[in-house]
């Protein structure tokens, strides 16, 4: 059994995001970076499979050198080695390009199972793993809250609105992971130390047979804005009946949340 886990390094969403002066990006100063939480669940799931029946786990990521730190955290959890698709700083790659690069990296590994988070919490693009599956012509299932492996097949619970599908996929397959599936382990110090020495290969787009042009982003962010930074702190006055009416109106008509 060989499992590829796709992970992304993202800013911690607990941070404050400020619009940069160019109004096309956010200020990155002071941001702390973490592994995207859904990817961490995917990694945990891979390691549980490894513990249950043995598996080689390769963690694959795309980005700059700082991604290595993120990949090492997965290795500290138990992944055996890593492949970083290194991209030049400043190159803007869209989901289409990322998926091509990752698909090429995954193909070289020929895993039996590819796991990834259902989305990365920075751009919330929610599409790269599905694209990788399609590009490699692999069966796939998204937003999975339960995963069982048996007889060369994966049986998954796939969350949908108000219910779930139970789907059986032949391996190799790509599965994206939802949060409730497990609790990622707290990394052990000896494993953090060991992870520093585990093999981590870096490949370039050229190595994967891709030109910068082929992966060019065709969905540029042309403007960003902060929706609202502070709480409204609006005390709704009047007698109970009026206040209640007004709050319901605000929730329904202004916020469109009710």
């Amino acid at each position: 059994m060989k499992i590829a886990v796709l992970v992304k390094r993202v800013p911690d969403t607990a941070s404050v995001f400020k619009v940069a002066p160019d109004e096309k990006s956010v200020v990155t100063d002071g941001l702390k970076y973490i592994i995207s939480p859904y990817d961490e669940h995917a990694a945990e799931e891979a390691i549980k499979i490894q513990e249950a029946g043995g598996a080689e786990i390769v963690v694959i990521s795309l980005g700059g050198d700082d991604c290595q730190e993120t990949m090492r955290t997965v290795m500290a959890m138990g992944a055996d080695r890593g492949v970083l698709v290194s991209v030049p700083a400043g190159l803007s790659i869209g989901a289409h390009g990322v998926a091509q690069a990752l698909a090429a990296a995954v193909k070289r590994e020929a895993p039996d199972l590819v796991l990834a988070g259902k989305q990365a919490v920075d751009d919330d693009a929610s599409q790269v793993p599905e694209r990788v599956a399609e590009l490699l012509d692999l069966p796939h299932a998204s937003v999975v809250s339960k995963l069982e492996l048996a007889d060369g097949k994966a049986l998954v619970d796939r969350e949908i609105e108000g219910g779930k599908y139970r789907i059986e996929l032949p391996l190799p397959a790509v599965v994206t992971i939802e949060k409730g599936i497990n609790t990622p382990r707290y990394p052990k110090l000896p494993n953090i130390m060991k992870a520093k020495k585990k093999p981590l290969d870096t490949v370039t787009l050229e190595d994967l047979g891709l030109s910068a042009d082929a992966v060019k982003n065709q969905a540029e962010v042309t403007k960003v804005a902060s929706p609202r930074t502070d709480r409204r702190n609006q005390i709704v006055g009047g007698d109970t009946a009026d206040a209640v009416k007004e709050v319901v109106r605000l929730l329904r008509d202004e916020e469109k949340a009710l």
Binding site: D12, A14, V16, R185, Y186, L189, P190
Partner: protein, 647 residues
């Protein structure tokens, strides 16, 4: 030598053989620990031995300690007679009379102490079986142990008086004389009487000798060495683990052999007095943790497995969870009361912290809520996962420079996570700001550059994270040339004062109550005392017990005109609020709540304000008062808030 003398000699040799072999075993098991027992700094060690050991100064901190001290001193005095009696048993002609005028004096002293020891034994029995303080509770075997010992000593003293009655030695011995008058009158003692008393005396002594090292009275042999070998340590510091050590495969305490020799000697030195248990907030609120039991369980484990481990060190079984269970391990609030009160300076809390380190660093297994908190601290450097970029927000508009803006200020006000983020405690940080500005103190903050000090991480057992946080702060502070620091949190205070020097951070740290008291003394703060009410002050463990700061907050409150009614447990004997040692970040699922126990004690003083000087205490006491349904009538406030209101 008579036949009797020969038999006694044989028994004498046997008893000593048993004694020495057992003691050698214990020494061997103690030596299964890491490192070496240290002899250096002999002057301090000798002083400890004299004052705390022979002087019984630690035992005498409790009134009941007088009985122990009398028995202890009596032991040495009576040993003279014991030796005389033993030798005389073997060589009937022997006497210490060659000591000349000293001999009657010694005999007089022996009689005095024989009486005092008898009284003390009676008191001990009365305490154990009539008063029955909880701290003396234990399994039947422990109670039997106590009865056997008390019985043996009583028998010994009885035999001593018997011998005195039948064959008086020179000296002023009114009790023996009276007993003689009472029993023999003018008549002669039966011929065998002296022999009977002498045999009883000598057999009891030898039985005692053999019994000691197998019982809780092992402490007779180990307690004094334990005081002697005590390592000097910085209170409130948990030594940083060497995480860089490539050869180290294990961090923290997994097996009994991971403790140091001194720590294992600790186990052998326990007297089972239970003072630690009596002071323990976990034990007092129905948790399965008793520091006494921790020590005794570890001792039992060491003595049981010691022989096997001595042959094969790798065979030492893990301590967790069979010897120390999760519920025991994670109930500790690290309040330090157990180590503070121990009369022989055993360190039960530190034993648990070593296991915590192993559980967190080696196993990654600890309460999930604490895991979340540590993840938050790793992420945004505060326990609530609030944005690091907003750490300085609390001070906006207050006119406090950041050190980036002005590094020339006299003090760094190290705000702490609570002061920066917890809206309740932001009020305290602001009240303190008002006081400092009023008094014209020059100070600044680090703002967004400040990090958590790592106190909770350290005490939960994640030394890795704690080291990183401490180093980051130290580097930032040194970068600005910081020398003097004020903190509004005893946990920050303790970390900066006691932990940071390990990372190259040498600062002069003051807790805010200390600075406030100073400013009042200097006349820079003149509180209007008219408005003050009745107050009780709840001591923070990390302030009062760890760092001895218990007078300053009281001085400040007194200057505010508050009449301070003390709770029964206060100052260095204060009772924890329940939040230390990372407990703030864990659920309290077993027994009653520590904070409620403490709130009840505070409310019983009848004060209308409970003053605190710590964000955790403030939260815990506020919650405790609410749980008691008294939130409407009793306020919980920080000393700084009370003072700031009176400007």
């Amino acid at each position: 030598m008579t036949l009797g003398g020969f038999i006694l000699f044989a028994l004498f040799v046997l008893a000593h053989l048993v004694f020495v072999l057992r003691v050698m075993n214990v020494v061997q098991w103690v030596h299964l620990g890491q490192g070496e027992l240290q002899w250096g700094d002999a002057r301090r060690r000798a002083r400890d031995l004299l004052v705390k050991g022979f002087g019984q100064s630690l035992v005498l901190r409790k009134p009941s300690g007088i009985f122990h001290a009398l028995i202890f001193w009596g032991f040495f005095v009576l040993t003279v007679g014991t030796i005389e009696g033993l030798i005389k048993g073997m060589l009937p002609a022997f006497s210490l009379s060659f000591l000349g005028p000293l001999y009657p004096a010694l005999n007089t002293l022996q009689e005095i102490f024989a009486v005092l020891v008898m009284v003390s034994l009676a008191a001990a029995l009365y305490r154990r079986f009539v008063i029955r303080p909880k701290r003396l509770e234990g399994p039947l075997s422990h109670q039997l142990d106590a009865v056997v010992i008390i019985g043996l000593i009583a028998l010994l003293i009885t035999a001593y008086f018997g011998m005195e009655v039948v064959e008086p030695r020179p000296g002023f011995t009114p009790v023996a004389d009276a007993l003689r008058a009472l029993t023999l009158g003018d008549g002669e003692a039966p011929g065998m009487a002296y022999a009977a008393f002498s045999w009883t005396h000598n057999l009891v002594v030898l039985a005692f000798l053999m019994y000691i090292p197998f019982s809780k009275h092992l402490h007779v042999i180990t307690a004094l060495p334990n005081l002697f070998f005590r390592e000097e340590r910085v209170r409130g510091r948990i030594n940083r683990l060497n995480l860089e050590d490539e050869n180290s495969e294990s961090f923290g305490v997994v097996r009994i052999t991971d403790y140091t020799k001194k720590e294992l000697l600790d186990l052998a030195a326990c007297t089972e007095c239970g003072r630690c248990q009596e002071a323990c907030p976990a034990y007092n609120t129905g948790k399965p943790l008793s520091p006494k039991k921790v020590v005794l369980d570890l001792k039992e484990h060491l003595f049981e497995h010691g022989p096997r481990i001595a042959r094969d060190p790798a065979s030492a079984p893990p301590l967790f969870p069979d010897v120390i269970s999760a519920d025991v391990l994670w109930s500790c609030t690290t309040c330090f009361a157990c180590e503070e009160v121990c009369p022989v300076e055993i360190q039960p809390m530190s034993k648990l912290l070593g296991i915590r380190q192993a559980q967190v660093l080696m196993e990654g297994e600890f309460p999930e809520e604490a895991q979340n908190t540590l993840r938050n601290v790793e992420g945004q450097s505060n326990p609530w996962n609030l944005p690091q970029q907003e750490r300085g927000h609390w001070a906006e508009g207050l006119g406090i420079p950041t050190l980036a803006e002005n590094a020339e200020v006299e003090y760094l006000f190290f705000t702490g996570c609570a002061g920066a983020y917890d809206q309740r405690y932001v009020k305290v940080a602001q009240a303190l700001t008002k006081l400092l500005q009023h008094a014209g103190v020059s100070f600044g903050i680090l703002g967004n550059e400040e990090c958590c000090t790592g106190d909770a991480a350290k005490r939960i057992g994640n030394d890795y994270l704690a080291q990183e946080l401490a180093q980051t702060n130290v580097d930032t502070m040194n970068g600005y040339g910081v020398r003097k620091v004020i903190t509004a949190c005893p946990h920050c205070f303790n970390a900066i004062k006691n932990e940071f020097p390990q990372y190259g951070g040498e600062f002069e740290v003051m807790h805010h109550t200390e600075l406030i008291a100073d400013l009042i003394r200097l006349g820079k703060l003149k509180p209007d005392t008219a408005k003050a009410g009745t107050t009780t002050y709840h001591d923070s463990c990390y302030l009062a017990r760890y760092n001895g700061v218990d007078a300053a907050p009281r001085e400040a409150l007194a200057a505010a005109g508050a009449s301070v009614t003390e709770m029964p447990r206060h100052g260095k004997d204060g009772f924890c609020c329940g939040a230390g040692g990372g407990r703030m970040w864990m659920e309290e699922r077993i027994g009653t709540n520590v904070n409620q126990n403490r709130a009840q004690e505070a409310l019983a003083t009848g004060a209308d304000t409970i003053a605190t000087a710590c964000p955790f205490c403030l939260t815990m006491m506020t919650d405790g008062v609410s749980k008691e349904g008294r939130a409407d009538t009793v306020q919980v406030r920080d000393v700084a808030e009370i003072l700031a209101d009176l400007l």
